[in-house]
């Protein structure tokens, strides 16, 4: 007789959602967290999109620990001294049911895990799952690092993050290629609330989220900048192989981005309150492991469910979506008394029919496109060059035609039309 119906490893958004669904289905569930509180090991570089919470926690926007509601989204393309920004704002994202919010992950994750414990899940903090307990090929529990720390269950849900040692131990990852990962670094910079409101042109609890391309020097990647109530979060996402091949160190790249004339006026005068770093499963669909085996499911970052597709940078919503699906599938399997791989197959089919796998499959090519040399270096140069020529007044010279500017700028940035066409076609297939 196992100790408990289900063990969820990791009390991040995926684990909390899984434990919440299991507890609501009347199952006994232990939610293990290796940090002293849920969220203590977690960081991200963006926005929590809460639509997935509508069914899970109705009215979530009234109680979730949100910093600001994002009503302005901007994509900035920059070169060393230029920046071209597409800036969109809508007031409708600033009122219920809202769209996205900035939040501190230690606050947000602890809140969501609190929902699971309210529903009856038992949260065990400061407890690292060090390995799997197996009976033949079947996962029957986990070993923790507490004294007498073995724990058995009918089903284990591994939500143990991007490094998921449990999924690797179960043999669900065929191999790990560093090219599939990026590392994110971030500074949280304190500024008075009024200063943030003024610099970013927002009021009250409204905020801004910038995605930035062309700011990472010799390392492929991207940047982000968003507003919290009285801090800014500024960071970079950097390709691991390029960093390892002797690229510039992360904090130096971050310093350079903060000195860029388009960014410096936004961040200057602030005090760094916290520095943080985390690895991101960048490659999405193409690096996903097997999602289940006998007695175990994998969800969230552990299953590489993180969407890093240029203008879309999402992760928390995929974690919650996959975690909730895992929780429901596990509850159904427990009800039927079959938690073998076949019994748990409902998990994959749930994900297939939801945004979690649909978005990932559709955008499977996006990470390659975004990290390509064309998107990283040549297109920012081209776009900024064209914009500069378009807006420059060369009197008494007459205005040049767009076609001529394009031809000259293509040449100046070493961009081959052939590459642009083939990339555009791929992009159209991916994003279209």
């Amino acid at each position: 007789m196992p100790d408990v119906d289900a063990i969820v490893v990791g009390a991040g958004p995926a684990g909390a959602a899984a434990a919440l669904e299991l507890a609501r289905a009347g199952r006994s569930v232990y939610l293990l967290e290796r940090g002293p509180f849920p969220g203590s090991k977690n960081m991200y570089g963006g926005v929590v999109y809460g639509r997935i919470l509508d069914t899970l926690v109705p009215g979530w926007w009234d109680e979730a620990p949100v910093q600001r509601w994002v009503t302005r989204r901007a994509t900035m393309i920059m070169t060393g001294h230029q920046a071209l920004t597409v800036d969109f704002r809508t007031e409708s994202w600033g009122r219920p049911p809202y769209n996205g919010a900035t939040a501190y992950r230690p606050d947000f994750d602890a809140w969501l895990a609190g929902k699971a414990t309210d529903a009856g899940a038992v949260l065990v903090t400061s407890t690292t799952a060090t390995g799997l307990l197996r009976d033949g090929d079947r996962v029957v529990g986990v070993r923790t690092d507490r004294p007498d720390g073995d724990l058995t269950a009918d089903v284990v849900i591994a939500c143990d993050g991007v490094n998921s040692f449990l999924a690797k131990e179960a043999g669900l990852y065929p191999h790990t290629d560093p090219a599939n990962f990026t590392v994110g670094v971030k500074e949280t910079i304190a500024l008075p609330r009024e200063v943030i409101d003024e610099r970013f042109g927002v009021r009250g609890d409204h905020g801004v989220d910038y995605e930035i391309v062309g700011c990472t020097g010799d390392v492929p990647g991207g940047g982000f900048l968003y507003t919290n109530t009285d801090t800014l979060s500024v960071g970079l996402v950097l390709s691991l192989p390029a960093l390892a091949a002797g690229g510039t160190r992360p904090e130096e790249l971050l310093r350079r981005m903060k000195e860029h004339p388009a960014i410096a006026p936004l961040v200057e005068g602030g005090e760094v309150k916290e520095y943080s770093a985390h690895v991101i499963p960048e490659a999405g669909y193409d690096m996903m492991p097997e999602l289940s085996c006998d007695g175990m499911l994998v969800a969230g970052d552990a299953a590489a469910m993180c969407l890093a597709a240029g203008i879309w940078l999402e992760g928390v919503n995929f974690a919650i979506g996959s975690g909730a699906a895992a929780g429901r599938a596990a509850a159904r399997a427990l009800q039927r008394g079959d938690t073998s791989n076949e019994g748990l197959a409902g998990y994959r089919s749930r994900l297939e029919s939801s945004f979690v796998l649909a978005d990932h499959r559709k955008l499977r090519d996006a990470p390659h496109l975004v990290m390509s040399d064309l998107a990283q270096r040549q297109l920012p140069g081209l776009a900024c060059g064209v914009a500069e020529r378009m807006f420059r007044v060369d009197n008494p010279e007459p205005k040049p035609g767009l076609r001529r500017i394009l031809r000259q700028e293509l040449k100046r940035n070493g961009v081959k039309v052939r590459d642009v066409v083939s990339h555009s076609l791929r992009a159209l297939r991916t994003f279209g």
């Binding site: 290796r34 940090g35 002293p36 969220g39 203590s40 090991k41 977690n42 960081m43 991200y44 501190y104 992950r105 230690p106 903090t125 400061s126 407890t127 690292t128 060090t130 923790t144 690092d145 507490r146 490094n163 040692f165 790990t176 560093p178 990962f181 590392v183 670094v185 971030k186 500074e187 949280t188 919290n228 801090t231 979060s233 691991l240 192989p241 960093l243 390892a244 091949a245 002797g246 690229g247 510039t248 160190r249 992360p250 904090e251 310093r255 903060k258 000195e259 410096a264 200057e268 005068g269 602030g270 005090e271 760094v272 309150k273 916290e274 520095y275 943080s276 770093a277 985390h278 690895v279």
Partner: protein
């Protein structure tokens, strides 16, 4: 840097902004630096965001585990099988984020 702006903080001050509950008993990273001596890339040195890996004069690698973000970059980029052994620190220890 223009006048009137704050100077960039030192790396020590940057890392000083983060809370680490250090496990005095066990290092969760170990490096077998006999394997590092014939490693030509040494990706861990530039890639580790906490700058925990330092080359030594005799060709080895000196490492620290105390201010580790537990991100996993080092073992992911390490191209010498088994040179870096990396596990999570004991429950309750290691980095504790507050504002990320």
């Amino acid at each position: 840097m223009s006048a009137g702006t704050y100077p960039e903080i030192s790396f020590e001050a940057r890392m000083g902004s983060v809370e680490f509950r250090i496990d005095e008993d066990r290092a969760h990273i170990t490096v077998d630096d006999t394997k590092c001596r014939d490693c030509s890339t040494r990706g861990c040195i530039t890639a580790c965001p906490a700058n925990l890996f330092v080359p030594t004069a005799d060709g080895g690698i000196l490492f620290n585990y105390e201010q580790c973000f537990e991100c996993g970059t080092c073992y992911l980029v390490c191209n010498r099988e088994g040179a870096i052994t990396w596990t999570y620190p004991e429950g309750g220890h290691g980095v504790v984020f507050h504002r990320t």
